[in-house]
Symmetry: D2
Subunit: 349 residues, 4 copies
């Protein structure tokens, strides 16, 4: 078992990490860390637990550690659920101290030598780790997982890019409340409402999507435009995607490509890899947020309504994924599994 | 005062008609008609009234008439809130019998000699009435108002088309529950959910938009693609619009064109015309469904977040309108006002 | 394995039966039956499946049988999820034909010789079966499970009745949408709303509660009053309960009595019995519908906020239970398990 | 016109004050005050305006004053929408400085010489002002309006108390989100949920109700017990009320007493007095939160489902009122109107 720590363990993404790592076959959480305000307290008492499931029993009584590299001597890998502003320096400190930091924060996603990894899509980007360690003279490294909406989007686009090439992507998202953290969106702001704005989200979706679907050193050169909206759902980001392809793609072939798509996590049979990363829903009114977000234990992206696009030379479809699992902590855990499977954790430290 | 009748007066759109026509300065409802099941009953008793406002007092005690032309001798204009399947033959019968039928039903919207009228956008289409009467040998006529989402979309596109020309439109809608009528969407289907499918809606939006923005005899030739979604809001359709323009359009100029836009209803000072058909919201998180749907008493479309589009050579923005007012009964009432102002009601009958 | 059939298998309670019986250690669904409209069709095609979980695989391809005793030769027990009007005669026909009918319908709940069974509370009522068979000359029998709100209420009241006696109960419910079946409550009726009326619900809660908490032949003689309300939750009925006790009861003792309470299903270790039928939540803002409804796999009732009542000589508290599991299909399955454990199924047929 | 100031004008109750006072026939807002953080800013820029209606135009450009008596020389009456902790000392300072402070805060509600006024119910309590001024040696005075739930409850109880006497009241509330202020309840906490706890609310309802329905110097001596719950509605508190009466009361007579009930505000024809303070809804499923909260412009309480109570010797019914209008700012404005009509504002200052 690889011993891991979770930084930012009391926050909402931190809580998802603990749920996903509970009884994980490869990883054992041996430390939870949070801000100075909570450090020293017992986890059960410091946390406002949001989920209907219980706090994993062996973690509930852990004393919360401060967010300092020296606090985790026996740990091989650190998951970061830190807020972006804190993440920047902190993650660097941990990497410098020799830890592998698998981060869900946005702070380092666009650093040229940091992999932004959605493992079914661009596991070859992991090789940036070597460059990162060489340039920064670190024995550890930072590996980031993408923005929630970009994770879902890139997974759905990958088989299209592979088979037909992509010229242009337009995407309109209907995003869940949990994406804003806790307390996040005020109830009075969202009851009977749609909020057509999420700070910095469109920029993240656009920039990260072309980075993920490009080469490790060079973003893809298709054009992309996003419009992001908050709706009154608890979990699950639904996306209406319009794609112009380089070569003519008919909907039936696109469906087949999506259904048959697998990535390295499936080939390596990683513990958190869903059997199929893309699950095609045949009903004309699916995927639906409430019904389909837990597909593949929240790690699969469901797609549906693949049809010709009358305005672009291509297809349009609906994609849906669980934003705090596939789109956040789950993707990070899968990244860590891939790291371990590729023996990265053995090589250093 | 022009005496009017409302066909389908007990349904949800019918109820909006009665509310909008209550104390109308030009029109007086002198008859309400509904299916055989309700005909003969007192309106108050036959209807399941959905609005927090009361049933207009003078209408509450009316006896419901059957849906037959002969029942309305003293009526000059008939509003139709009939379901599409009933509307087709019934509206024809009324037009043949000499009535002007201002319809919210989809049955005749695509007939080549029937105006599909969103009056700030294409009031010149009204001239199809002459052709209709000549060809069909009717003394009355049918005038239709567009699909709710198309009404909102075309209003927002008109100043862009006028100033820069349109090559391509992609639109993703987040539509309210009232658009499905009553009882409509089951509560269990929409709580904590998005349903990414509305039967026939995308087709209507696509076809009607190019018809409205074209010449009376010939649809506009830009390309259009819609993706339509149901969300948990009561009233108000919000639309994320991506537009490729023929000539380069910068966001500030588009905002100015939207703000300055007026149409014939404003110039004629029609009673139901909102002071400004497009109201620009400067805040970065507006328009919002709950906060802005009643702008201009529900007759204005609010727009916001006009910004450059990175994938199309153009702009993207958010548009919002009240689906049962501007997008249904309100647009039909405005059409009727325009008919009257243009003396159509005087010329025949 | 006891072979069972589910009558009304395509309805919403019927679907819960199938989920609960999937991989059940004692029961195997060998037939699903539904109205003539569906009979003859394949289950997967006839049903509108509402749950995020899949249709149990071995049932999905079953052909739907008509609701006739002769259709189920090899079946030992029949679960009824029939609507009340159909249930009355149909369940009698099955019981007469020798089947044990474990019903969730209200039709026979108040028959004096039919057990109305909430097994942790009144398993001794099962002895009415002998009387029923003798009087009606049936080799089978009908056993009913209570109204959802009454199931939850009586479970929470039982330890209080045992230790202090009950003089008076007032209860105000906040009930979930799934209690109204499907399509049930229209979304436009419940968004941003509370509906303070559920047809016949208050009467059922009042009458069934005293019956369950009484002797098999004689209802309890405390007074009861219910006020029932529909709120915008998917599953889970929350109840505010005020109790006047015969002997003075302090909140701490009531909490202890609730926590320590177990019934025959726990003693017999029945497969669907929750480890604790009542789970006390210590936090001052619990139980909450979304967080606690699945306690004990939806079979436990959670209680909290036990405090002195200033108006009655007693206590008030909050109780919460899953209405379609504990309050419907789950209680019926537990009843069937109790029947089997008590060898009722062996004695006849 | 009486010039008034609003303290706490940027908060959510403060905003309702401004809406209700806009174009008020007797009062003119000449100053808005808020905490030091906002003081000095222009109102439009300092406020996060929550309502679909616009900020009253003449107030939007006001400079926000600090919350100091000396800032309001020409003001005769001060409305306080301050948070409870700030309100205590601040309101005293204003009263001492000679202002009449009409407060919505809870800080002084239980002071024995401060009127807790729901004007249709206990306008005679206003005479405590003389005692207050004498004892405290103030030229101004503090007058408080009750807790939102208590306002609604006492209005509905008053005609029952008058005609039959009250022995016992039990009430279970289903309260709206706006009652928690802004941002208030997190959306993730209330979607698909009921929260059966509102801090201090039950205590307020119980204590204030007997105070309001008692003599100025002595609370009523009936027993009362409340259970308070938060549900997913925007505005409008719905209450299930169970009443034991001293003399036997049949539902029809109670309905008649409610329908015929009027108070001093109606007799004096005060501008904000609803025509009928209690509006009886005859339909069996009314009042409903969304449909009925705006009755009497949000100043009336609607009642319905008056029926015999099987557990208490009395009746049970549903009452509903708008929590931020009748239950907060609206009641305070009505109190101020009553003060003015009774010439209190003339006598001092």
């Amino acid at each position: 078992m690889t011993k891991v720590a979770v930084l930012g363990a009391t926050g909402s993404v931190g809580q998802i990490f603990l749920q996903l790592l509970d009884r994980h076959p490869w990883f054992k959480v041996s430390a939870v860390a949070a801000s100075d305000r909570s450090a020293g307290q017992i986890y059960r008492e410091a946390v406002t637990w949001h989920s209907p499931t219980q706090i994993p029993e062996d973690l509930a009584e852990l004393e919360i550690a401060p967010i300092e590299p020296k606090a985790f001597d026996d740990v091989d890998l650190v998951f970061s659920a830190l807020p972006a502003d804190v993440a920047k320096k902190t993650e660097e400190r941990f990497a410098k101290a020799g830890y592998f930091v698998v981060s869900n924060a946005s702070a380092h996603r666009l650093d040229r030598d940091v992999p932004l990894l959605n493992p079914e899509v661009n596991c070859d980007h992991l090789r940036l780790v070597e460059q990162q360690q060489r340039q920064r003279k670190w024995s550890g490294a930072i590996i980031t997982s993408p923005n929630c909406s970009a994770t879902i989007l890139t997974l759905s686009l990958k088989p299209i890019q592979d088979a037909w090439g992509i010229k242009r992507v337009l995407v309109s998202t209907m995003q869940a409340l949990s994406g804003a953290g806790y307390p996040g969106v005020a109830s009075l702001d969202i009851l009977d409402n749609v909020i057509p704005f999420i700070p910095n989200e469109e920029e993240k979706v656009e920039v990260e999507t072309v980075r993920i679907l490009g080469a490790p050193e060079k973003p893809a050169d298709f054009k992309i435009s996003a419009s992001c909206h908050r709706v009154a759902t608890s979990d699950g980001h639904l996306e209406a995607v319009f794609v112009e392809t380089e070569r003519s793609a008919d909907p039936e072939s696109v469906k087949a490509a999506m259904e048959n798509f697998v990535g390295e996590p499936q080939r390596l049979n990683l513990p958190s890899a869903p059997p199929k990363p893309l699950v095609l829903k045949p009903d004309e009114n699916r995927p639906q947020t409430r019904l389909d977000r837990m597909e593949g234990d929240g790690m699969a992206v469901t797609v549906g309504r693949v049809r010709s696009d009358d305005a672009l030379n291509g297809v349009k479809y609906i994609a849906l994924g669980h934003n705090t699992i596939r789109g956040a902590a789950g993707c990070a855990v899968l990244n860590a599994e891939y790291l371990k499977a590729m023996k990265y954790l053995d090589r250093w430290k």
